[in-house]
């Protein structure tokens, strides 16, 4: 295992060392210590690495991740795993707003709560939040899945496209064109698999499913008041 201490090394040196593994992988296990809320930790990785970040991370931690499995032992700032393509990111604490924004693939697990706009413009990744999510989560989300084991804030799934949303607790309000949908057997199966993959022990049958009513997919003047 290779350890990088951010009290002695810069974020630039950390990221460069991780990027260098793309061309020639010499070490798959990485540990980052001395972390004090630094921004842009482990961004743009493109190799099957395991990166253990010991401490709270700032903005965009694990941004645009490909292939790597990143564990943050602490809280994370805005935009964790934004635009992730594959791999996984696990946060043991809370995540600030825009967690998993625009992520195309991979799995993001937040063991605490996530702030506003969790999964905004989601494009295919799976997000599992053991706690609650803030307002406008999954705004304009296009594909992928958001699972919320706690409650969801206002305007959940506003202007939603094809992202699936499962919420166990309460939903303060649904956004434009987001509706509750029947939880059929295939959804139970899908959620069971996802919860298992995320290592979250919850009963899939306790969740409700939300998705797009698809009424706003093409502009119609009759829907003008919905915009």
């Amino acid at each position: 295992m290779k350890t990088i201490d951010l009290e002695k090394s810069s974020v630039r040196e950390l990221n460069q060392a991780l990027h260098d593994q793309h061309n020639e992988c010499t070490e798959r296990e990485w540990e980052v210590t001395g972390v004090k809320g630094d921004h842009n930790l482990a961004v743009g990785l493109d190799q099957s690495l395991s990166v253990h970040i010991k401490g709270h991370a700032g903005y965009y931690c694990a941004g645009m991740n490909k292939k790597a499995n990143i564990l943050v032992e602490g809280n994370v700032g805005q935009g964790v795993a934004e635009n992730m393509m594959s791999g996984s990111v696990r946060v043991t604490g809370d995540a600030s707003q825009s967690a998993g924004a625009t992520a195309h693939g991979g799995l993001l697990v937040v063991e605490g709560n996530a702030g506003a706009r969790c999964g905004i413009s989601l494009k295919g990744a799976d997000i599992v939040v053991k706690g609650s999510v803030g307002h406008m989560s999954c705004f304009m989300a296009q594909a992928g899945t958001l699972v919320v084991c706690g409650d969801a804030g206002e305007a959940l799934g506003d202007s939603l496209y094809e992202t699936r949303i499962y919420v166990k607790g309460s939903v303060k309000s649904l956004g434009a064109d987001c509706v509750e949908k029947e939880m059929r057997a295939e959804h139970i199966e899908h959620l069971t698999e996802l919860l298992h993959r995320a290592g979250v022990d919850e009963d899939p049958a306790a969740f409700k499913r939300y998705g797009s009513a698809r009424n706003l997919y093409n502009f119609k003047v009759d829907h003008a008041s919905s915009y």
């Binding site: 961004v43 743009g44 413009s121």
Partner: protein, 444 residues
């Protein structure tokens, strides 16, 4: 229409200046459809523009350069502030961002071919980077937009520069819209949305909300690309002085300011015509902001919006820009609105020179369409060469004017070389009214 108008005037009929023919037609259209007009192109109203400025050629007090024998440099380096690999362009005329989706694959390829032929850059647009575009563009700027359609780190690392788009001149403060009729399988796949669905592009980025956040976002992009490539920030021209200062503070290598004449693929007419300020008015604001921060020429300034000829290029540079970008003019060079398609334009209720319904995807010229049959009409090799010819003419015209002002580099042109024909243009461009030393708001 003009003959009919003349006839009416001769018979004593008087058209209202307020409720003219176009205005009344628009009221009728709104009453019939119940929806606002969406169209492409840029602002069509007359606004103070570069035609209102003139160069003061050399004579007794200034020494001109020989037009054909003395060098006048046109090469510009963009991104010298932080990037390890700045972009060097051979002409200061670049191609603005236009998406695959809004434009056909052939049109995107033609833009790349034309730009590469003369050593300048082209820009992706919303919807991601296509292999055709990357393959044909020797210098490609990758736009980082609020929608993040097609955004991925592999393409980010293939780019020669990254342009973080906050807005565009046709619709500052507005998002985008690609209507369902242009969403083919390929466009849908690139944007991760079902075929045939209207694709709304958000007006705000999903993971940052202000300039302090943007500074961290730019650091992220630099970290992902190992600080190799320049990062631009593009804004629509509104409060340009403040926007440019904030963009510098956020860490931009290059700032792109797009005036209200800048084009669009699909935006509400009311937005295109009523939001933003003219390009000419934005440049002095941007230059002032850069100069006050000691960053003029260190952070390069690209301006766009209504650039048509070498005189416009030279005037932008005289006002302090480092380069310009063209969009609408480039499409026209490819063949947009060409009279040879007049009969086809008539069939869809338009006319050559007037066509602006890019959102409908029925472009007879095969440019703003995803229809395979229409797209075939544009030969990317021929069209690319036409664009290259046009870019060469813009460059030579700008050089001609610079030499006449005694300048051996386009960037040596300066506001002192310009005068204005109208009080409005003098005030906006901050150059004297012709024949006077009066700059409105500055000197009496």
């Amino acid at each position: 229409m003009s003959e009919e108008k003349d006839l009416n005037i001769n018979t004593g009929l008087r058209e209202s200046a307020t409720f003219d023919h176009f205005t009344m037609a628009e009221i009728r259209r709104a009453a019939e459809t119940g929806i606002y007009d969406i169209r492409g192109f840029g602002a069509k109203r007359k606004v103070p523009h570069f035609d209102d400025l003139l160069f003061l050629g050399a004579s007794m007090s200034r020494y001109p350069l020989e037009g054909y024998r003395e060098k006048c440099n046109t090469q510009v380096t963009l991104g010298t502030r932080f990037a390890k690999k700045p972009i060097v362009i051979e002409t200061p005329v670049t191609i603005a961002g236009m998406s695959f989706g809004a434009l056909s694959a052939n049109a995107k390829e033609a833009l790349g071919r034309g730009a590469s032929e003369v050593g300048t850059s082209t820009t992706t647009g919303d919807g991601g980077m296509t292999p055709e575009e990357r393959g044909q563009s020797s210098k490609l700027v990758y736009q980082y937009l609020p929608s993040r359609y097609g955004m991925n780190p592999d393409d980010l690392r293939k780019a020669d520069a990254i342009e973080v788009v906050l807005g565009q001149g046709a619709k500052p403060g507005g998002g985008g819209m690609l209507l369902g009729q242009k969403i083919t399988d390929r466009v849908a796949q690139m944007r991760t949305l079902p075929k045939g669905v209207d694709q709304r592009s958000a007006c705000r980025h999903p993971d940052w909300t202000g300039p302090d956040d943007l500074a961290i976002k730019i650091q992220e992009l630099r970290e992902i690309t190992d600080w190799q490539v320049p990062i631009y920030i593009k804004v629509g021209a509104t409060r340009t002085y403040y926007d440019v200062k904030l963009a510098v503070k956020a860490g931009a290598d290059v700032i792109v300011v797009d005036g209200m004449q800048g084009g669009t693929a699909a935006t509400q007419e009311v937005f295109i015509e009523h939001v933003g300020i003219p390009t000419m008015a934005a440049i002095p604001q941007a230059v002032q902001a850069l100069q006050e921060m000691g960053m003029h020429r260190k952070v390069q300034l690209i301006v766009s919006g209504g650039i048509r000829n070498g005189a416009d290029v030279a005037k932008c540079m005289a006002l302090g820009a480092d380069a310009v970008a063209i969009g609408t003019a480039a499409l026209i060079a490819l063949g947009d609105n060409d009279p040879k398609w007049e009969a086809e334009y008539r069939k869809i209720g338009s006319a050559a020179g007037f066509y602006d319904d890019y959102q409908e995807g029925k472009d007879p010229a095969g440019i703003s369409t995803q229809d395979p049959e229409l797209s075939k009409r544009l030969d990317p090799v021929v069209a690319g060469h036409r664009l290259a010819n046009y870019l060469r003419v813009l460059t030579m015209e700008a050089q001609t004017l610079a030499r006449a002002c005694g300048k051996n580099d386009l960037r040596n042109l300066e506001p002192e070389d310009l005068v204005a024909l109208t009080v409005e243009s003098a005030a906006m461009a901050r150059v004297p009214l012709a024949g006077t030393s009066w700059i409105p708001g500055q000197k009496f």
